[in-house]
């Protein structure tokens, strides 16, 4: 297979053909105008070819489309800098060993799903004993003292508990994203932490299925974890981040 890595394009059945499937709804009634509108819309996105292969009235003057097109767009994959966090992933035992070695005491981690968001399964997956998909949670790490506050926790309460417990890291889960409620909540949380003057003392970790590292960092967190992240990722990151800070003299155990 001969791939031009500087010029990567979607592949259907010929290298570089740019084949893309799309579906969407337009708020105009089914018919020839709607079909042509759909076609022009896709062409205006830089497609060289747009086949409206299906259009269907879905009620109330809306039309659903399936379109196959060939895009002229390409990406230079040699220039891509992944926005996902870079760190080494250590197994649980390795994490425990490193904490002992670097810090000489257990790390305190406090987590919650904040705001009105009631989804606990994600934060439980990271923190609870039993973990998720065969990956044990932080509670099972002998060198981590994990406190999972559960869901629907106001940011204020999470901050207060974190201070009480002397947290080294705060884990914030957000699952509901409608109307950007996750952004509002995550921002509120980080503002509180900063206002409390403890930002340097804690590693701030955001997580959830629609969270990514880029967004989390943009909002002021140290890292963001999306779907398919497990306790060992979180633990490894926290250890490495604190170790970095220690090296820089920004943090002491």
């Amino acid at each position: 297979m001969d791939v031009d890595l500087r010029n990567v394009r979607p592949y259907g059945d010929t290298m570089g053909d740019g084949a893309v499937q799309m579906s969407f709804t337009l708020p105009i009634p089914q018919g020839s105008v709607a079909r042509e509108a759909a076609r022009q819309l896709v062409l205006s996105m830089g497609f060289t070819d747009a086949q409206v292969v299906h259009d269907e009235d879905i009620g109330e003057g809306f039309t659903f489309f399936v379109v196959y097109g060939k895009t002229a767009a390409s990406v230079d994959s040699t220039k891509i800098i992944p926005t996902e966090p870079e760190f080494e992933v250590w197994e649980r035992e390795e994490c425990n060993r490193r904490i002992q070695e670097y810090f000489g005491r257990p790390l305190v981690v406090v987590g919650a799903c904040i705001g009105e968001d009631a989804h606990t399964v994600g934060i439980d997956a990271i923190m609870n004993m039993k973990g998720y998909h065969g990956h044990y949670g932080l509670e099972r790490y002998s060198m981590i003292e994990a406190h999972n506050l559960g869901a629907q926790i106001p940011p204020e309460e999470l901050l207060e508990r974190a201070r009480e417990l002397g947290a080294d890291a705060i884990l914030v889960s957000q699952v509901v994203t409608q109307r950007d409620s996750h952004v509002l909540n995550l921002t509120r949380m980080i503002e509180l932490v900063e206002a409390a003057g403890i930002r340097d003392r804690v590693v701030m970790v955001a997580g959830g299925p629609r969270i990514d590292n880029a967004l989390a960092q943009e909002l002021g967190y140290d890292v963001g974890f999306g779907k398919e992240s497990y306790a060992e990722h979180v633990a490894s990151f926290i250890i490495q981040e604190l170790h970095r800070r220690m090296d820089d003299g920004r943090w002491t155990p």
Binding site: S23, F24, T25, E56, I58, G59, E60, F62, F64, E116, D117, A118, T120, V121, G150, Q152, V176, T177, Q178, R179, S181, P209, R210, K227
Partner: protein, 524 residues
Amino acid sequence: MIRLGLDQEQIARLRKLAKEIVHGVAPIIKRNTTVSVERAIVRLMGLDGIDNDGVPLPNVVVEAVRPRLGDGVARHVAAAMLSTGMDINQLGTAVANREVDILSFPEPPEDELEDFWTEQTSFTMERIAERVKERNEYMKEYPPGPQPWKYVIVATGNIYEDVTQARAPALKGADIIAVIRSTGQSLLDFVPYGATTEGFGGTYATQENFRIMRRALDEVMKETGRYIRLVNYASGLCMPEIVVMGAFERLDMMLNDSMYGILFRDINPVRTFIDQFFSRMIDAVADIIINTGEDNYLTTSDAVEAAHTVLASDLINEAFGLAAGLKPQHLGLGHAFEMNPDIEDGFLMELAQALMLREIFPDHPLKYMPPTKHMTGNVFKGYIMNALFNLVGVWSHQGIQLLGMLTEALHTPYLHDRFLALQNAGYVFNNARHISDAFLVNPDGPIMDRVRTVMDDTEEFLKKVNDSGLLDAISNGWFADISRSPEGGKGLDGVSEKSPAYINPYIRSFAAYLGREEELEKWM
């Protein structure tokens, strides 16, 4: 119709256990009342509106009575109304404006009180009866579609956008529209007021929103000749109040579980048990089908291992519901297609369980939830998981089929997600319409193996729950792997012990209407 030939004696044993379990909490329900029950009472009397700070008048009045809530709000309201000659809304406004001290009125003479309540309750009963009659007439003129009823949700946060999102699927075959509530609402200890446009992940349940959506669906009904059922969510801190609103606005179904709020919203168990009981009496009078939330158990527990907790909870919800005067045809007991799609023969286990529930609850419009937990961003895979779910639905004659959305893992449904869901269900239901007539269950095959396992596990589980009592079972984390203590959770401060003077005038009229005076005596 396929028959598994279940052991009827075992079923009877299961029902008996469930009945004993729920009767275990009857005394605690009878002993106490809650702010939400009391607010529901004034709503039943017709109180509505908000004060200048936006606080709903039912909250204003009940807050005013709070120091003597054990007497019941009814007693004080009656005294005030009889003394002042105000109607309930005038009284509410006067209380809000601090023009009257509601606790200051003398106890009226017994016979005057008797007449007062006869008048009040018959006003309420008539108001509800009118809605029931209206529904029955519409259903005759515009017969609803056959089961499984295709149920879709709308959840834009904006009631007007919701109307568009509801009308389109109703025109394209949906039988039921559910308006999902904003994420925060179930923990609010009041019901928001008026038309709303700013919810997160759902739209506030308000009486005005109910009215707007009801009107929109009645229009579609007239366009399509098909009655479209409307659903909203009662669970939460205001369960009975929302059911009153639903009864007044001709909602056809309400999410109204006896334990969901406890487990999934951390609402105090005692508060919830009381609230659910009274709210279900209202459902019964208003001929509203309830939906229960057993599907949720499988989002926190494993669907293969926890199947018996679903059946156990269905039996408990049934027992509570029957006690409150609901009939089997009102009991939309929940279950779900939530097994990991990678399991060998997972489809057979799901089918087994659905057929089993159908046979254990033959007259109940079972509510069947689609795959949610194991849905991913692979919308294609998700779409075929929903197809197998739909096949189980038509095969096992589910009553209420919540249509799976191919974007379940991503966002609340887009307009075309719902359309595709309807197309999926429409295709599968029609293309396999009489599948249950086509096959008999192999008595020695994998279906029966699964059924026996689940039923036996359920019996054992119910025994255990009965032995420890329901409150302890919950606090042991036996349902949904979640533990809640009777002394914890939200809304406990809204629970008050009844004083000897306590009255709730609706109990009597509901009981009479439902012909269940004796049974209800034990509960409320």
